[in-house]
Structures are given as structure tokens and as C-alpha cells.
């Protein structure tokens, strides 16, 4: 069904399949680094667009395109800064392609950028807490929260920002795709015991995010 970008673009894009290949692209000639960046830019762009489209769903009279390109550039720079520290953390043995890893990192970064005034001084992006729909959200019970798609989307967003790409990978496999512990252990080359630890950790993170949102007064648990 779908083509991969490198099939479309020809030889100007490269997608490392191993850490060695990634290191080679990062430390090799500038054109290799550029080729890697050109592979990752569409992935980053998609995730940035996803976040901004969601956040600005109610904004009027304003195009998103420029902000999307600005933030794509911003995230790209962050991936490659400090000797590409973030990219070098990618471990394909965990069952994630570089593109998937970068997608998760990009989404996390852009959410962080939008939320953090310190990293985006005088930003013109609205803070999530100021989102009209959230401010106007009525107080709901825990049952109401579970049934509120708006609340759950905010929870999903905060969780993405909070947990590491590896944690998000585990969350997606165990909870979103509902795979068995055995399957996930095989795919991620880890043990069932390690996954149970992850499971508890992720459940705790969800509870913490909920408490955090309630504390911020974004949504209320009582009632």
C-alpha cells in the first residue's frame, strides 16, 4: 500500500537499521548527516503537525503551516545537538525502528516545547492549561473522566510527554495493542519480569498524570 520515503526520494535519504549504521551516518561525511536528517524530517513533521492540529482544533483564522515548519526545525536541531545524544539513545534491539523512535521523541519534545515557557520564551503558543475547552470543562467524577474522550486525550498527551520513548513503546504494545507479556518480551528482547515492573511503573505514571491534571485544575476528580 504505502511506499517508504527512500523509495520515492532515491538515494538522498538513508535509514540506519543498526546503531553502527547510525553512528556511521552521524560521524561520516556531512552529506550522510544531511541524508539522515532528510529521512527524519518527514517523521518529525508528521508528529509536530499531529500535536498542533489537535491543540489548535478550535483556533480560527490562522494557518498552522509556518508553526509546524518552525517546530519541525526546532525538534530536528534538538535531536542532533550535543553530539546527537538523543539519536544515539536509540536501541533497535528493543524492537523499534529509528523512525518510530524519532516519532515518539518528536511528539514528546514538541509537547514539552509547547508547555515549557522556559524553553520557548515569550512563546505565542497557548499553554495547554489555557485551552478554552479545558478551562470550560465541567467537573467530572472518575467514571466521567474514563468516559470523557477529551480528558483521555489530554491524559494520553501528558503521558507521552512524561514517559520515555522506551516506556511509551511498552505502553503501546501492552495496553494500546493489547499484546501478551510473552509476545512483548520476545519482541523487545526482555524478560516477563521486566515487563511486569514496567506495567506497574506505567500504571503509576497514569495515576500521577491524573493527579497532576486535577491539581492544575484542568479537570476535577470530585463530583
Amino acid at each position: 500500500m504505502s511506499k517508504r520515503p527512500q523509495d520515492i526520494k532515491g538515494g538522498s535519504h538513508i535509514e540506519p537499521r543498526s546503531r553502527e549504521e547510525l553512528r556511521g551516518a552521524l560521524t561520516g561525511a556531512p552529506h550522510q548527516r544531511h541524508a539522515l536528517a532528510l529521512t527524519l524530517i518527514p517523521v518529525i513533521h508528521g508528529r509536530v503537525a499531529r500535536v498542533l492540529v489537535r491543540k489548535r482544533s478550535k483556533s480560527k483564522g490562522r494557518g498552522l503551516r509556518q508553526d509546524i515548519e518552525d517546530l519541525t526545525q526546532d525538534v530536528l536541531v534538538r535531536l542532533f545537538e550535543d553530539d546527537s545524544k538523543i539519536l544515539r539513545r536509540w536501541n533497535p534491539q528493543r524492537g523499534m525502528s529509528l523512525r518510530s523512535y524519532v516519532g515518539l521523541v518528536a511528539e514528546r519534545k514538541v509537547l514539552g516545547i509547547l508547555r515549557s515557557r522556559s524553553r520557548s520564551p515569550w512563546t505565542e503558543f497557548p499553554e495547554p492549561g489555557n485551552d478554552e475547552s479545558l478551562i470550560n470543562a465541567r467537573a467530572v467524577s472518575i467514571q466521567g473522566q474514563i468516559e470523557s474522550s477529551e480528558f483521555l486525550e489530554v491524559m494520553a498527551e501528558r503521558l507521552t510527554e512524561r514517559i520515555t520513548p522506551l516506556g511509551m513503546r511498552v505502553f503501546k504494545l501492552l495496553f494500546v495493542e493489547q499484546r501478551t507479556v510473552k509476545e512483548v518480551a520476545t519482541q523487545m528482547q526482555t524478560t516477563a519480569g521486566a515487563l511486569y515492573v514496567w506495567r506497574n511503573r506505567l500504571s503509576r505514571a497514569v495515576a500521577e498524570v491524573r493527579a497532576e491534571l486535577e491539581e492544575e485544575g484542568v479537570l476535577y476528580g470530585g463530583g
Binding site: 520515503p5 518527514p42 503537525a49 499531529r50 494557518g63 503551516r65 515548519e69 518552525d70 526545525q73 494520553a156
Partner: protein, 259 residues
Amino acid sequence: MVEDESLVRGVARAMRELDDSDEKWLALAEGRLSPEEREKLELEAKESPEDARKFEAYSPIDEGVARQMAASLDGNPVRRQRVRRWIVSGSALAASFAIFLGSRPEAEDPLPAFTASVRVGDAVERGSALETRGLSELPSTRADSTIEVLLRPASEATRQPRVVVWIQSERGRFASPVSAEVADNGAIRLRGEVGAIAAADHGPVSVVLVVASSPEADMERIAAEMLSLEADGMRRSQTGPSWQAIRVDALIRAVEEPR
């Protein structure tokens, strides 16, 4: 706890639904769609404003722009030509537009490219051409209204830029008593009451920000040149080897005395 488990399942369900609904759009951004799939999406976008908005947001980044982004990793300033955009928020005029296309590569102290965002007081304006506006069409504002000029670098500045703010008003040409702030990442902001920044309570005023990386740049001269340009049909921004400048004009309305 059962409630926590339900919440985890709920969040997972929300993620699943978001992933499913976004998949085709992510595929569009990443160039993974076949021409037929893309065409279908484009047709859907024509039927729905929401899909049209998504189509614009997710349409692949132009190859040339992507190459410039990649080149910026080597410290080359981004030379993206951007479309000027306007934001109208409440009763405030907010004009955002790209003013700088980056410094010339031969500069010893190149500045990063900046995007300018300008908000002027309580004037309301829609997408009119700031660059060709005459004096009678200047944004009208009050002395106690807020003006904000925000310059955001496309990439981290290698050294902190110097900034000066100059004013032209009926009193003449002088340095503003209000300074611009410079953030650690090189972003620059001038914010305050129009009257305080321009040291005026009525009449036409022009505010010029000059940003330079090199100590050699004669910022006062650059500001003077920018301020001497005719208001009608002038360019609002100029770029030199190691400096960039933007000018914002406004008309301060005199406050009527109560009868």
C-alpha cells in the same frame, strides 16, 4: 486499584483511536501514500474544512525547505522564504511574519534567521499589506496600549546578539528609554506600553529594532537609515552581513478629555 486500571485502559483506548485516525495523515506527511491514496485524501479535504486544514498541515515539507533545515545542522542559517501571516486575537492586532531570511554566508558573525511577531495595542487589522500601508492607515493605538515585538531565532544563536531600539516621533529621533530583552536562546522581545517605549502620548511613531552579532555593526546608523525610509511602500525589514533590522509604525491616538 480498579479505577486506575480503568483509567489506563481508557488512556490506551484514546491513544488507539488517535493513532487510527491520524495514520493516514502521518502517512501523508511522511510521503508513504501512493498517488491514488493522496488524491483520495485531497478530494476528502475539499469536502470538509477540518480535513482541508489537516491536509495543509500534513502535506509534506517542500524538499528545498527540508534541505535547508538539514543544512542548518551545520550552523548555516535557514533561508526559508515564509508566507507572512496575521493573527487577529480579540481586539488586538497581531501580525506575524518572517522578516529575516538569514545573514549572508560570508559574514564572520552570522545571525540566525528570525521570525518576527508584532502585536500592536488595540487596533484591529486583517491581513492588509503592512508593507504598503500609508500613514493614514497605520495601526491606531492608545499610549497605554501594549506593543510587543518578538523575534524568534530559527536556530540557537552562537553568541548573544546586541539589540538597540530607536524611535522616530514628532519629538525627533532618539534611543528608546525601554530596552529589549534577550533570552538565553537568542530570542528577543520588546514589550511595554506604546507611550513608554516611544516616549510620546500622541501622533505617528516608528519603532526600529536593530539586532547585530558583530561589535563592528554601526547600529545607530542602521536605525537612522531605517527610520528615514518613507512610510509608504517601504520595506519593513532589512538585513546586512551581520545585522538585521525591523521597523514597526503606529499612530498613537490622543485620549479625549472628558466633557
